[in-house]
Structure formats: structure tokens, C-alpha cells
């Protein structure tokens, strides 16, 4: 089974690379180059904060867009183009296929994020001419962003297992937006009473808590990220992803292919 999962994941990764998904790195690089003259016009203390915020927000946006739009096409494209037929005619379970596709895109995003992180650190070094211990803290923010991508890929895969690519994109985007405000949703759920309160509480559990994964502002101001939060976010993301990918596999395993 592991060999098959590896083969599916490797093929997904190769497809993403050959379909020029990683070209977003060029845009990221150009963004950093374009902001260089801007940085020279602001004070030294603010430069670092600005660069961190800009770079991490760019990593978040690029990664989220790839997670949603490549994620929703992972299965639907295979069905539409019928490339799936010779795969499922082999001793490959539908669940294996879903997990393999997930792993392939998660791997692609890991490489993509690592490359952008490297670009960011090079830019930071060029700006500050040194890297400090506090700068290592930024890696945690990037790690959280990666967890966010993993959660979103799971959601995109889940939606695409039963709906059209357009609807899947809309659902996944809606979940991303709602998840980014998960903290507010939970606060509202605490305050609301009656059916409204129950509904808000249910929604706050269904919607991914992406707000907790966003610590860009904290690290840009050198606030220490508590180890407990790292553990909590890791566990939460893994569990959330296991649930969404399992649900996607379950739905897909019962689906008639056109």
C-alpha cells in the first residue's frame, strides 16, 4: 500500500511541477525585489516588521490559492479526463487514491513554502545584514501557515468529492474566510442564546480554526510563540485533516464515475 501511495503522491507532485504551479515562486521573488526600494524609504525598525508581514502574507496567499484551486481539481480533473480509470482498474483502493493525491499536493506545498521561506530569509539577511535568534521564531509562523494549507487541501478534496469544481472552490473559499474569523465566531457562540447560539456553536466546531494558525503579527513583533500552541495547532490540524480526508475517501468510494 505504501508503494502505491508513494507512486500516486509522486505523480501528483510531478504534475503540479510540470503544470507550472511552482511558477508562483517567481512572483514571490519579484514581489520581494519590487518592495526593496520601498524598504529603503522607511525607518530601520519598521523595515523588518514590514518585510516579515509582507513576505508571510504573500506565502499565505500563494499557498492558500494553490491549496484551494489545485486541491479541488485533484480528483475532478482525473474524473473529467478519465485518467482515473486505468488507476482504479488496478489494485488501488479509492481511499488510497484520495490519500495519495492529498499527500502529493501537501508535498508540493511543503516544497513551495520552503522555497519561499528561504527567499524570505535571504531578503531578511540582505536587509539586516544579520540573522538573530528571534528570526528563527518566524519559522513557527511559516510552519503554522503550512498547517493551514494542509487543512485547506483536505477541505478542497472533501468538497470536490461530491460537488462540481466551481461549487467546491466557492465552499473552500467560504470555509477559508470563515476559518480566518473563527475566533470571532467562537466569541459570538458564547454570547448568543437559544437556537442562534447552538447554530453558532455548531458552526464554530465545523469551521476550521485558521485564526489560531495565523501568528504573523506576533512574530513580526518578536512575541514568543508558546510551545503549547505549537502542540495544539499541530494536533488540531492533523485531526481536522484526518476527518476531512477520511470523509472525502468515504464519499468517493461510493461514487459512480461517469
Amino acid at each position: 500500500m505504501i508503494r502505491r501511495l508513494k507512486a500516486i503522491a509522486a505523480n501528483t507532485f510531478r504534475e503540479a511541477v510540470r503544470d507550472k504551479v511552482l511558477y508562483n515562486l517567481v512572483f514571490f521573488f519579484l514581489l520581494l525585489v519590487a518592495t526593496a526600494p520601498l524598504l529603503s524609504q522607511i525607518s530601520v525598525g519598521v523595515q523588518r516588521v514590514f518585510l516579515i508581514n509582507l513576505s508571510l502574507t504573500a506565502i499565505s496567499i500563494f499557498g492558500t490559492v494553490i491549496s484551494i484551486f489545485v486541491g479541488i481539481s485533484l480528483v475532478s480533473k482525473e474524473i473529467e479526463k478519465k485518467t482515473l480509470y486505468p488507476v482504479l482498474a488496478r489494485p488501488v483502493g479509492r481511499g488510497e487514491f484520495i490519500v495519495g493525491k492529498y499527500a502529493g499536493l501537501a508535498g508540493t506545498l511543503t516544497v513551495n513554502t520552503a522555497a519561499m521561506a528561504l527567499g524570505f530569509y535571504v531578503a531578511l539577511w540582505l536587509l539586516m545584514r544579520t540573522l538573530t535568534g528571534a528570526d528563527a521564531n518566524i519559522l513557527l509562523a511559516i510552519y503554522f501557515l503550512l498547517l493551514q494549507f494542509f487543512v485547506i487541501i483536505g477541505l478542497a478534496l472533501l468538497f470536490s468529492s461530491f460537488s462540481s469544481p466551481l461549487l467546491s472552490a466557492i465552499f473552500a473559499l467560504a470555509m477559508f474566510v470563515a476559518g480566518s474569523f473563527a475566533g470571532d465566531l467562537r466569541a459570538f457562540a458564547h454570547m448568543a442564546q437559544g437556537p442562534q447560539g447552538w447554530l453558532a456553536t455548531a458552526a464554530s466546531y465545523v469551521v476550521p480554526n485558521l485564526a489560531s494558525l495565523n501568528v504573523i503579527t506576533n512574530v513580526s513583533h518578536d512575541q514568543i510563540i508558546a510551545p503549547a500552541l505549537v502542540g495544539y495547532n499541530t494536533l488540531y490540524s492533523v485531526l481536522y485533516t484526518v476527518v476531512t480526508v477520511s470523509a472525502a475517501a468515504l464519499i468517493f468510494s461510493r461514487r459512480n464515475l461517469k
Binding site: A7, R18, K82, T83, Y85, L88, A89, R90, P91, N256
Partner: protein
């Protein structure tokens, strides 16, 4: 031993969003394919051939019925390693080269890396794609993709190969090559189950055929038997009208066009007919046995000629 045994496969589709309607794709299909045969699954477009193959491959689920492949339940994962499948109008990952594609499918079928390294170049050469190993599939013609499709279906050396319209869209040369390839696979001991609506291919290749139309099995049998149902009759062609009455008296059906006469009569009366021609100085042109064609059988079973390509 039976390679494939279909026991009452039925498939009903629900169509429409508000007003849901039931559409029958396949109705209570029973079919047996013995091991080692080339089996042709015939039917006009939309008859249920692809639906049957999709059901056997586990791509769709039956509304009713079951099947056995190589003696096991058709959903058994171990069966999947022993069968090969070429879908209709195959489309493969166009970012891959044929070698990469076959490597991928080989890994999924459990073929070891060492075996893949050995088999892939040989197979590509065998299907006529030597020299194209490093070309991405997006640059391949339809015929070349069909060859890749056949290669992926047999890479893991399956016992049964299911081919959905393998000759569809190929030029005459390509069709002949695929026909020869199928025959060579059969000589190696593989059972071939292929669907087609091109009857000449089926007639040239198959040991046994089944005809399906509108989701129902209309008939099945050995090609040799189906095409010899008119055996026992001979066609005699000669020049000279004087012998017509004599041949008619022997039970022959005569059609004259000027001096040329053609008669179909029982083979048992041939000697007498030839004597009658000789005594009346008729010039004998030809004597041929009458055989039925698969097309005749197909048209009889389907009851219409629409969708038949020959």
C-alpha cells in the same frame, strides 16, 4: 475454467434534477467467458458495452447482480492485479512520457522497479513506440495514445485483458497492428475481452461473441457456429439459360442476368446440378459454399442497422 462470469448485472441511472427519471443502462446481463478465448462484446453505440466494462472494473456500481473474474468476486483487490484494462478513447497524464506513465502504472500494479526497467523498453518497442520514450504524451497522436493504452494494460502481465473499443479511431494500418497484437497476446495464453461495434474486427479476431443492445443481451455463441448457420448450401454460377429449369427442379433458387445465371441449392444436389449443366452445354463459372456473416447475425439480433460500422 471461466475467466469472466457475469451474473445478472443491472445498472439503472437516475437522470434529471427536479423530475428524476430512471434510465436503464444494463438489464439482467448474464455472460460467461471461458479462459484463453478472444471474446467480442458487440453492440451499437450506447448498447451497454462500456457500462458493462465499467461495472467489471469497479468504476461504477451495479444496481443488481454480481460477477466473478478468475473465479473470485469481481471486487476482490487481488483480482485487479491479474487483469488489464484499456478504457475507451484513453486519455493519459499528458505531462508524462510513456516511460514515466508505464512506471507509474507498473508501480500501482505491484511490478517491481527491476521488472519495470526490463519490461517497459521491450513493451514500447512491441507496440511500435520505440524512440518515443522521452516525448511527453501531450504530443502524441490518437493512434499513439492507443498504443500506450494497450501497453499499460499488459505491462503487469495480466491473465485477462479488457479492451474497450481498442480499434476505435485508428487508421486501417493501426487497426491491423492492434489486431495482430491482440492475437499475439492470446497466443501467450491471455484471455481477451474486447468491446467493439466494428464487426469485421470481431469476425477476424474472436472465438466467441455476445451481442448486446439497449442494455440487454441479444445473443451469444462461437463465431464459427454463428457464421456457418447457412452451411449446407452452395452457390453455382454458369453461363446459359437452358439449364435453369433443370436446376430449379433440384430445389435451386435461380437468378438470371442475361446469359449469366446464379443458383443457390442444397449441397447434396450439387452433383446432379453439375450433370444438368454439362448435358445442356452450360459454361460453369464458379461453385462456392454459402456462409453467413457475423454482420447478418448481428443485424438479426439487434434488429436495426443503425450504428453499425463495417
Amino acid at each position: 475454467m471461466l475467466a469472466v462470469e457475469i451474473l445478472g448485472f443491472s445498472k439503472t441511472y437516475t437522470i434529471g434534477f427536479w423530475r428524476k427519471k430512471q434510465k436503464t443502462g444494463l438489464k439482467d446481463l448474464h455472460l460467461e467467458v471461458p479462459s484463453g478465448e478472444i471474446f467480442g462484446f458487440l453492440g451499437p453505440n450506447g448498447a451497454g458495452k462500456t457500462t458493462t466494462l465499467k461495472l467489471l472494473m469497479g468504476l461504477i456500481f451495479p444496481t443488481a447482480g454480481t460477477a466473478r473474474i478468475l473465479g473470485r468476486d469481481w471486487r476482490d483487490p487481488s483480482v485487479r492485479a491479474r487483469i488489464g484494462f484499456l478504457p475507451e478513447q484513453p486519455y493519459f497524464y499528458d505531462h508524462l512520457t510513456p516511460t514515466e506513465l508505464l512506471n507509474y502504472y507498473g508501480a500501482l500494479s505491484g511490478v517491481s522497479a527491476a521488472d519495470r526497467r526490463l519490461r517497459i523498453p521491450r513493451l514500447l518497442e512491441r507496440v511500435g513506440l520505440a524512440g518515443q520514450e522521452r516525448v511527453q504524451l501531450r504530443k502524441f497522436s490518437k493512434g499513439m495514445l492507443q498504443r500506450v493504452g494497450i501497453a499499460q494494460a499488459v505491462l503487469h502481465e495480466p491473465e485477462i485483458v479488457f479492451l474497450d473499443e481498442p480499434m476505435s479511431g485508428l487508421d486501417p494500418l493501426g487497426r491491423r497492428e492492434v489486431r495482430e497484437f491482440i492475437q499475439s497476446l492470446n497466443r501467450e495464453g491471455k484471455t481477451i475481452f474486447f468491446s467493439t461495434h466494428i464487426l469485421s474486427d470481431a469476425e477476424a479476431l474472436c472465438d466467441r461473441v455476445a451481442v448486446v443492445n439497449r442494455g440487454e443481451l441479444r445473443g451469444t455463441g462461437l463465431v464459427a457456429e454463428l457464421t456457418s448457420h447457412a452451411a449446407g448450401l452452395v452457390d453455382v454460377v454458369w453461363q446459359g439459360n437452358e439449364a435453369i429449369a433443370a436446376v430449379k427442379s433440384l430445389g435451386g433458387e435461380c437468378h438470371a442476368a442475361g446469359e449469366m445465371v446464379r443458383a443457390t441449392l442444397p449441397e447434396s444436389r450439387l452433383r446432379e446440378a453439375l450433370d444438368a449443366l454439362r448435358t445442356r452445354n452450360a459454361r460453369l463459372i464458379s461453385v462456392n459454399p454459402v456462409g453467413g456473416s457475423l454482420e447478418q447475425y448481428f443485424l438479426q439480433k439487434v434488429g436495426e442497422s443503425a450504428g453499425v460500422e463495417r
